[in-house]
């Protein structure tokens, strides 16, 4: 595969063009990752401002009118509302897991049923998030079931 980069004038819009023989899963995956990188989120931690990639977010949660972005081992505060984050991640691999949580399906390790009739979703960083039964179809849709 040939990779070429062309510098353009600042008046021209930046663009990525992928030339391929067919739109296969690998190409779709590349497009998805590029789209995710475009969406950088502003997050706050210890009075500092950070720009996070959606790819790094494990899950988004609202607690007592505050919103938090959970990454592998750090938690950031976000000014986004739940519905705003949901809109932002609509075309990507995030799903609404409960009234206050949106999970990145690419960060899921495995799931287990709980005695309460809900599902325990274990993430790759060891964290566990509870998902109501009513949101499980959404998870299944995201992973292609």
């Amino acid at each position: 595969m040939k990779i070429s980069v062309q510098e353009v004038d600042s008046c021209e819009e930046e663009e990525i063009i992928i030339k391929c023989h067919e739109m296969n899963d690998d190409i779709m995956e590349l497009v998805r990752r590029l789209k995710m990188e475009q969406h950088r989120l502003t997050a706050y931690r210890d009075d500092k401002v950070y720009r996070l990639s959606l790819h790094d977010v494990y899950y988004f949660e609202t607690v007592d009118s505050k919103a938090f972005l959970y990454c592998e081992d750090k938690v950031y505060e976000s000014k986004l509302k739940l519905y705003e984050f949901e809109d932002l991640t609509r075309a990507s691999k995030f799903f609404r897991a409960s009234k206050s949580t949106i999970i990145n399906t690419t960060k899921i390790s495995h799931v287990k049923p709980s005695m309460s009739g809900r599902f325990e979703v274990y993430l790759k960083n060891g964290e566990c998030v509870l998902v109501s039964r009513q949101y499980v179809p959404e998870l299944k849709k995201q992973i292609g079931l």
Binding site: S98, T101, H110, V111, M115, G117, S132, Q134, I143, L145
Partner: protein
């Protein structure tokens, strides 16, 4: 459990309780009153019976997501309330007369309650297995998908 989810659970719960109660009555009467016959009015009374039992699900209503411990505690309260409601109704309808019959009725309700929880957990386990298989397939392709 929020109101939307509670409404769904109560509707499903009503049908589970109604069919469970019909089956429980069949087992109970087969053991103690094998020659007993029922009039048609038994079925609407049983529906009212089930509705009263179903109303006990309101104990699970919560604006916030419940932790597993909180859910377990509310499950115990729910079971106690359910037994009180069902035994009161059964006593009024003279479905049992002696202490032995009352104890048998108590254990039949306990058995039905346990079976409903077990079936729900088993159904969740099967669903989790399918989801985990798919997640494993996806993770084998690479870190993300």
């Amino acid at each position: 459990m929020d109101f939307k989810e509670l409404k769904r659970e109560m509707l499903l719960g009503f049908f589970y309780i109604y069919t469970g109660s019909i089956f429980g009555t069949y087992v109970f009467c087969s053991l103690f009153y094998p020659d007993l016959t029922f009039s048609l009015s038994y079925f609407p009374w049983m529906a009212l019976f089930s509705l009263a039992g179903d109303a006990t699900l309101l104990v699970f209503y919560s604006k916030k997501v419940l932790t597993e411990k909180q859910f377990l505690f509310r499950t115990v309260i729910h079971f106690i309330l359910l037994e009180i409601v069902l035994m009161t109704f059964a006593g009024l309808l003279q479905l049992y007369e002696s202490t032995l019959e009352a104890v048998a009725f108590f254990f039949i309700v306990l058995l039905v309650y346990f079976m409903v929880k077990l079936l729900s957990f088993k159904s969740g386990s099967k669903e989790a297995e399918v989801i985990n298989q798919r997640i494993q397939e996806i993770n084998k392709k690479g870190e993300d998908y």
